[in-house]
Each structure stands twice: as C-alpha cells, then as structure tokens.
C-alpha cells in the first residue's frame, strides 16, 4: 500500500507502513529534518507541521491519514537561497531563536496563526503557542516577533 499526498506543494508517494508517524516519514523517507522528534507524545510541539493548513503533531499523525492531503513543513517556507518568510525574519530580528530545537515547530504554528488571523493579539499568540515548548527564550521574544509580523513590521 502506498500513500499519495503533497509535501510543500510537491506530490509524493510513500510506501511506509500505514501507522508510521508522519514525522518519521518526513525525516527518514523524505530527508526533511526540520520537524524534530521531541517528546514523541504530542506535548512539546517540536514536530509541528501543517496538514491542510492546520498545525498537527506529526509524531502522532499516521501517514495513512495524510492520504490526499497537503502537508507543509518548515522546509517549504523559504527556498534554500531565497528570502526568509516574515515569521522567520521576525523571530531572528526579535531574538526569538536560541538553541533552535523548537523553532521549526514554532514557525509552523505562527505561520498557520498569521494565515488565519491577520493581527493576532499577544493573548491569541500565547493560546496558539501553548503546545510549543521552548526551553531557552521564555517565549516573550517569540510573542513579540509574532506581534511585529501582525503589525506588518516584517513584511
């Protein structure tokens, strides 16, 4: 059995076992190592990717359920030699990136938020980020970065 879906706009066919986690498929089959294996149980957000524009914990997402869907990872946001997205720029600009382990997940969560909500409030940003653990920054810089994107300061 193979599963067909889109990764960052490109169609893929995956022959992995049906209940393999999407995270494992992304990292080990497709070489997309941006999403990180953290807790492995949906509590840390390091593996966050977008499925049909919605953040999901890819470690708990069976590849079989990705059939015919559109998956987006941090690798799909900016081309290797292209400009970063406003969210990525803002995180750098505002000191929201330290060790970086959580950042691909944070970027995908904020990308989805800002696609739905043009000018999110700090409360809305905190609500969106409740499932993304960061052990370095204390979150303030990440929230400031997202507020700045909403204000258009990073566009």
């Amino acid at each position: 059995m193979t599963y067909s879906f889109h990764i960052n706009g490109h169609p893929v066919e995956i022959g992995s076992a049906a209940m393999t986690g999407l995270l494992e498929v992304l990292r080990d089959e497709l070489g997309l190592r941006g999403a990180k294996p953290g807790c492995g149980e949906g509590r840390c957000g390091a593996c966050t990717v977008l499925v049909d524009d919605v953040p999901v914990a890819s470690c708990l997402y069976p590849v079989a359920l990705a059939q015919s869907r559109h998956v987006r990872t941090v690798e799909g946001l900016a081309a290797p030699d292209g400009p970063l997205t406003p969210v990525q720029d803002a995180l750098l600009e505002h000191g929201g990136v330290q060790c970086g382990a959580c950042i691909p997940g944070v970027v995908m969560t904020l990308t989805a938020l800002l696609e739905r909500t043009l000018r999110p409030t700090p409360d809305q940003i905190c609500d969106a980020l409740v499932g993304n653990l960061c052990r370095c920054t204390g979150y303030h810089k990440i929230v400031e970065a997202a507020v700045a994107v909403g204000r258009g300061e990073e566009r």
């Binding site: 209940m19 492995g40 949906g42 509590r43 999901v56 069976p62």
Partner: protein, 312 residues
C-alpha cells in the same frame, strides 16, 4: 473505537471504508484484530504504553454522518458527530449567545483540552472511546456525563442509543460497534460548566477535571444536578453524592464547595507522577466552584462566590 484485546505485533494495516455500515461490518469480521481509528492521537501512543497494535485499523472520523452537527437553540437536543475534532467543537459551541447554555461545559472542555496540535485532530468519539481504555483524563467525557449525553452507536445490523455512563462502565464492547455521534439534551433552564487543573498553566493532562450541569427553577432553586469527575479514578464518572448537595437550593459558591467536598469524599483518587491522590481530592471543591461559576456566567442565575472563590 472498540476495545477488544489486540492480537498482532506485526506492522498494522489501515483499511479504508466508505460508510459507517461498511466500517461496522469490517470491524465485526475482524473481531479482536481490528479497531476504529479517528484522529489517532491516543492509538499512536500504543507503543509508548507497551500495548501491541491491532492488526487492522479502520478510519472512521471522516465517514458520512460522523461529521454532522446541529446546535440550533430551537432544538431540544444538540447533535454532534463523533468525527468532529475538539477544534471544530470549540468553533461551533463557543458562541455563548446562540448556543444553548447546556453546552457551555462541553465547549469549555474542548477548548481547554490538550494542545492546539492535538485538538486539531483528536475527535469527540476518540476521546470517549479512549476514556474506556485507560485515558482517565479525557476532558470531554465528564462534560458529556454531566450534560446527560447519549451515545449513538452503530452496529452491522443497526443502531442503538446508550447513556455515556453505560458505555464507559461495561467491561467489553461488541466487535463492530462504532461510536457515530452524541446527542446532548439542551433544555432552556439547564446550565453547564467545566473546570480543570493542570501542572502547567494550560494544555497538558488534567490533574483533576470536573463538570457540572444544573436545571434551575425560575426562583433560582436547583431542581436537578449532575456532577462528573475525571482523572482521579480509572474511568471518569458521575458523582451522585455531589449532585445531591446542589439540589433544592440556589447555586452559589458555598453550595458548590460543599458539593466538591462531597465529591472528594466519594472518589478513590490515585497517586501518579503529576500529583498525589490527597492533593487531587483537596482541589476538587475549588474546581467545582469554578465550574459552577462558569455555568451561571452567561445567561444563568445570579452567582455569589465564596470568599476564596474567583470572580466568574
């Protein structure tokens, strides 16, 4: 969403079907080798719990009928498809003005449960089914118990309705049984609330979760009540001793705390890594006061908090 003992250690298969009836027939034929699959957030952690996979999983959340939703205030009950995600429930139930007050506890439970990445895929039916097989913190379940919800179950040869408590309390479930939907009564004088305590400020598993719904006479007297508690015992359940305390008097912080104390006396709270049992019992009165404050916060009766209670 069935819970028969799995028999396979090989890589499991996922078998797609196109209708509830077909899913039921396939699962009935598979018996203990098969299970329904919804969002997968509980089943995907089977290896972490040292549980073997079932041989075959049948995806059900997207099947016709499992995504229906009717929360019109003019209906006598709300109809919620088992395949709706927590996020979808929040979007549909969170509008306090046009949605019956009887659904406020369920809306709060869906909004506060877990994390966005999990709420976006985890379903109503999956939460209920997982609560039968070890997920004692399942947040939607106390809210459904308190709301007097009935489950709509599909079988190869038809359908049946059962109260949530019956589904949770019985030891085994027949192969081929699928949780299709939930009907929640929405009488106009019913008010519902939900509270949960977590080690972090948000998200996470609840140390305790508690839900309440009350039917209130025009003079403010509680005519009937239901209190349900989760995360303490292996399966969430109604606590009639707590509900009895609320009946026959106005709902206020004092009666809520007394009911919480009655609940604490009635439960067998287990120790675990998050908190000892005595602590879980100790916080119940305050949590039930919060849940009752929420129940009265929209269109409900007047509310008087205890000195220690928080403004609603």
């Amino acid at each position: 969403m069935t819970s028969a003992a799995p028999t396979s250690t090989a890589a499991p298969e996922v078998r797609a079907v196109s209708s509830l009836e077909e899913a039921s027939q396939v699962l009935a034929e598979l018996g203990p080798d098969g299970a329904a699959l919804a969002g997968g957030t509980w089943i995907m952690r089977r290896p972490l719990r040292s549980e073997p996979w079932h041989r075959v999983y049948v995806p059900v959340a997207g099947l016709p009928g499992l995504r229906e939703l009717d929360v019109r205030p003019t209906s006598s009950q709300a109809q919620l498809g088992a395949g709706l995600t927590h996020t979808e429930l929040v979007a549909e139930l969170a509008d306090g003005t046009s949605v019956p007050a009887a659904l406020a506890g369920l809306a709060a439970a869906a909004r506060l449960s877990a994390f966005p990445q999990v709420r976006n895929v985890a379903t109503l039916g999956g939460n209920i089914a997982a609560a039968r097989v070890g997920f004692r913190q399942a947040d939607l379940v106390p809210a459904l118990l308190a709301a007097g919800a009935r489950l709509q179950l599909g079988y190869p040869d038809g359908r049946a309705d059962r109260p949530v408590a019956d589904f949770l309390g019985e030891a085994g479930r027949p192969a081929g049984e699928i949780l299709a939907g939930v009907a929640v009564p929405t009488p106009p004088d019913r008010f519902a609330g939900f509270g949960r305590l977590t080690v972090r400020g948000a998200g996470e598993y609840a140390v305790v979760n508690v839900a309440v719904s009350v039917d209130v006479d025009p003079d403010g007297t509680v005519r009937s009540a239901r209190v349900a508690v989760g995360a303490l015992e292996p399966v969430p359940r109604l606590i009639p001793e707590a509900a009895a305390v609320l009946v026959g008097r106005p709902l206020d912080g004092t009666s809520a705390r007394e009911a919480g104390s009655a609940a604490a006396a009635a439960v067998d709270a287990r120790d675990d890594r998050l908190a000892p049992g005595w602590y879980r019992r100790a916080v119940l009165p305050a949590l039930l006061e919060r849940a009752c404050a929420q129940a009265t916060s929209t269109t409900g009766p007047a509310w008087t908090a205890t000195d220690e209670g928080e403004p609603r």
